[in-house]
Symmetry: C2
Subunit: 590 residues, 2 copies
């Protein structure tokens, strides 16, 4: 057996910021060297950030990615770090002749091994995910190589992300070819409770590959995706050895004892078990094991509970969306209700209350407690606030056009949206919208009104979970939260009956069923794609099934116009679910 | 040789309207029978409409598609049409065990042969397009069969849409197996000048398959896609035999003389030349040729020129978006400028001027000619109009919040957007937005202002083409246009200098280069994906290149919030081009 100290660089890259990402790779490699690591593993497409969507179809972008990789290799050597091998993800190209249906330039979701100033070997993801949030058949061609490099006597294989999730391919080939360690750079987005699935997967693949597995995942927010980190090391039997934290950057080092190999170098084709052939490239960096040393104890980060996990995801998503898009501050309307109260709290935790601006916009229908509850939150959190009553503006509109019923309600919501957008344009704040997933699903919101803005922190959070998260936050905090307040959310905002307050004595339950009932139905219809018969068989009220299905189907256009927001569930309304707007199909109950 | 009369049903299905599509299939089959056809061919996924996006992931939807197909077969028989074979597209399922990365339920983009009340055989698309507007790896698994049925002595093969576009697969197998005729149901969306590409493709594939080819394409608008019809028949040498019109429904019949076959029925595996095996299923409907008859002369529809083609596409897109979404009328703001003038004209041509409502919303910065030009258009077209000055509403806002510069300009655009949305909510009109592609590309529009609405007819039309289309329409008409007016667009709207009129003496050229220069640069950057170095090498001004690239890249968020509109170019800003919002990558000129 031979020892290796592996450094897992669980980092937060910025999409498109090749120079910045490269800079941070150098810094973290230096840290890893200082900690005595023998290998540093960065995440999937770390140099370019992930996902980059149609940027990969630009020749100049792929050129820049490849150039940056080669510069990084040289720079590591110049800065005295060349002896420490680095595995890092980037975008490369396959050099295939163009053909119909092949992404322009044949890009590869690639990973490279850097050593002594050189790019020693390159590989690319074999299985391309094209479901849920992934569109990779659009962007990449598949890789067909599996590098296995000898490092201090141990054979180390590299397989990118999805290659762990699907049957056959590189992992199956590792099992046939034999290796002492499989490392996997990932950019695997968060979904609630995905960490359990992920650990089980890593354990299973380690057993299939017959070797220890190092799984390094991206962390950070990128548009609608939040990456949770949660990097994992398991041994060859699938036992958990080390685990990094969630929703925070971390350079995790782990000492492993691994089998020594003397397999011949060269190129060897293998049947990948999925109809394709994968060529194993065996090469030797350093044949001899390191001198024995005292291993450091491995750390296994404590995991957050469900609400802590979701809340931390939302905070990180807001922080990164603000920072990576170059905003300094946010603005939102504060109604006194729970949705805007939770959104304000997330924002305060993300960027600090001094950079959060709230506007109280009472109308003729606002209740006394609304203003009072909003003011109480301002007091507790110390955010910046102003009041802008909307009655006179609404009157000015109504002098030009006659509106009644829903049209008049929408007008009020739109006046508020315009005030926020005006202040955003004037002062450069990013507008946060405050709608939740239950509203978004049923279309209970106003186009260009409460849905106007740049980012929607709780758009994938059902209303019942909005209350749960608020209670959780009033009872808990995490080191990464920037708001220092006990019980930051007024109890009254949590306990009072929800109302849009767009007409006298309005209640959400005038238009919608109670949220506990609605959210269960939405979960079955949207997340589980159950048909109306199945929904009724599952115990939902038949009349409600018909009504809610109709609401959800008709709200497709509104949802498309909604700002992006962090994905929390398997089926968010952003990248995950795409219906035609022009659609006559309705589930029926007959 | 044997004769066959084939009916090509170039129709406009509605997505999700299975019963309605089935009803019309019966009616058109009756027409085809009346015309003495021996075979009727409907388009790809005709029964469900195309594209249906995530609907195919619903079990209940796929069930309904299969059930509808079987009902249609029985109903054709009941109505005395059972002897006439019908080929029609629908959605089926492959019956595969679930696995990671496979679309839920393993749906198939299928086509079936109906005869004597039965579904005689089923096949499915083999090549799944996953580029441009297509996401079919997300939705379908691939078919691996090629039915060849003997019809009055002639062997007829069926291959769906994309199977014509890619190398290898069913067409290659037809060439090996031998057939007398290849029929292909399609849903191939319009792009300018695609008709030329399509004819050339059909000719080439006919020669490869060694037989005549019948290409039947969908017509109609579906969200952002417009299908142009343009169904084609070529003989085995690739010569054009018959061609249907563009942008209109048509039951085209054609008489062909085709080779007789006596090949054995059964199942035969073939190497498809793309790494897969395709099973040919040979079956016999009717072994003997029909009695000789006098063939009718074939019709080759005259083709529209570029501007006629684009304009007809926009008209059809608006008509179908309005009708298929259940609207009765549209509303738009009429400024006196060319964009809103052209949009109003398209709307009048699509649904008739009596269902078009325009609102004139002068501000303190509107010039005299603006109102006069708008009123002149109202007079020429007979659309419904009203005036709603915005100054008092703007004042009411400015009493609550202090706005200056761009923020104040945006406010005016938003007040107009809110007036239109208010009237839309009150009266049920669909709001049409009037922005063009040059504005959309550079972000020269106001979020929730001029971009507020339900459909954006000219969002994929560059400004220079807005002028060209306006001139074309003033000089031309087509039978399908509902507006009866000579020169419907006031000349002054076409010739005057463009201005947003949001501040005194504003001109578009204050913020943007002249449109002739801008549009050429946008075409090279957006459509051709050229990098900054290539753009400069192509003769664009370096400073302008940097500026425009920055404008385009930063406008990604605005474009995402824009309403859908008909796709006209290869790279529209709807389904075709997807960049991250959070993105630090900028083309540089160094």
């Amino acid at each position: 057996m031979a020892q290796l100290r592996i450094a897992l660089a669980q980092m937060n890259p910025s999409v498109g910021d090749l120079d910045g990402n490269a800079e941070r790779l150098i810094a973290w490699t230096r840290d890893a060297a200082d900690r005595g690591a023998h290998l540093v593993v960065f995440t999937e497409m770390f140099l370019t950030g992930y996902p980059v969507e149609d940027l990969v179809l630009r020749t100049s972008f792929v050129d820049a990615s490849i150039r940056t990789l080669e510069e990084v290799a040289r720079r590591l050597e110049r800065e005295g770090l060349g002896d420490l091998p680095v595995v890092v993800g980037y975008v490369d190209r396959a050099g295939l002749a163009p053909r119909v249906g092949q992404p322009k330039g044949a890009p590869l979701d690639a990973a490279a091994l850097l050593h002594k100033g050189e790019v020693v070997t390159r590989t690319a993801k074999h299985h391309l995910p094209n479901y849920g949030v992934f569109d990779e058949y659009r962007y990449f061609v598949r890789g067909d190589r599996l590098p296995i490099f000898r490092l201090h006597g141990v054979d180390v294989a590299i397989a990118v992300c999805e290659d762990l999730w699907q049957e056959g391919g590189p992992v199956a080939v590792v099992g046939q070819a034999g290796a002492g360690l499989l490392i996997s750079p990932n950019a695997s987005p968060y979904e609630k409770e995905k960490d359990d699935v992920r650990l089980e997967l890593c354990a299973r693949r380690a057993r299939e590959a017959g070797c220890a597995l190092v799984y390094v995942n991206q962390v950070g927010g990128q548009d609608e995706l939040v990456f949770d980190g949660d990097s994992i090391v398991v041994d060859a039997s699938g036992e958990l050895v080390a685990r990094a934290g969630q929703f925070r950057e971390e350079l995790l080092t782990v000492d492993l004892e691994l089998p020594v190999s003397d397999a011949e170098p060269g190129f060897f084709p293998y049947d990948a078990g999925d109809g394709s052939t994968i060529t194993v490239e065996r090469l030797v960096l350093s044949p001899d094991p390191v001198e024995p040393y005292e291993p450091a104890p491995a750390t296994i980060a404590e995991h957050l509970d469900l609400h802590g996990e979701v809340y931390a995801a939302l905070v990180l998503a807001v922080r990164d969306y603000v920072a990576k898009n170059g905003f300094q501050s946010v603005i939102l309307g504060l109604s006194g209700g729970i949705d805007s109260a939770l959104t304000a709290t997330i924002a305060s935790d993300a960027i600090g209350p001094s950079r959060v601006n709230v506007v109280l916009m009472p109308s003729r229908y606002s209740s006394d407690h609304s203003l009072a509850d909003a003011e109480e939150l301002v007091r507790r959190q110390g955010v910046n606030s102003r009041i802008a009553p909307i009655a006179d503006i609404v009157d000015a509109f109504e002098k030009e056009i006659e509106l009644s019923g829903l049209a008049a309600e929408n007008l009020q919501a739109r006046v508020r949206g315009m005030i926020l957008m005006g202040l955003s344009n004037q002062h450069g704040h990013l507008v946060l919208t405050t709608g939740n997933k239950s509203e978004l699903a049923t279309g209970y919101s106003t186009l260009y009104g409460d849905s106007a803005g740049g980012f929607a922190p709780i758009k994938d959070v059902p209303k019942t979970m909005v209350w749960e998260l608020s209670r959780w936050r009033n009872a808990n905090s995490l080191p990464q939260f920037l708001l220092d307040a006990k019980t930051p959310i007024p109890e009254n905002s949590i306990t009072k009956e929800p109302s849009a307050e767009l007409r006298p004595d309005q209640r959400d339950t005038d238009s919608l069923p109670p949220y506990e009932i609605l959210d269960r139905l939405l979960d079955d219809y949207v997340e589980k794609d159950m048909g109306s018969k199945e929904l009724i068989a599952a115990g939902h009220d038949p009349e409600l099934v018909t009504r809610v299905i109709r609401l959800v189907d008709l709200a497709e256009y509104k949802r498309r116009q909604y700002p992006p927001g962090p994905k929390i569930t398997p089926k968010n309304f952003g990248r995950d679910r795409r219906l035609p707007i022009t659609n006559r199909w309705r589930e029926t109950t007959d």
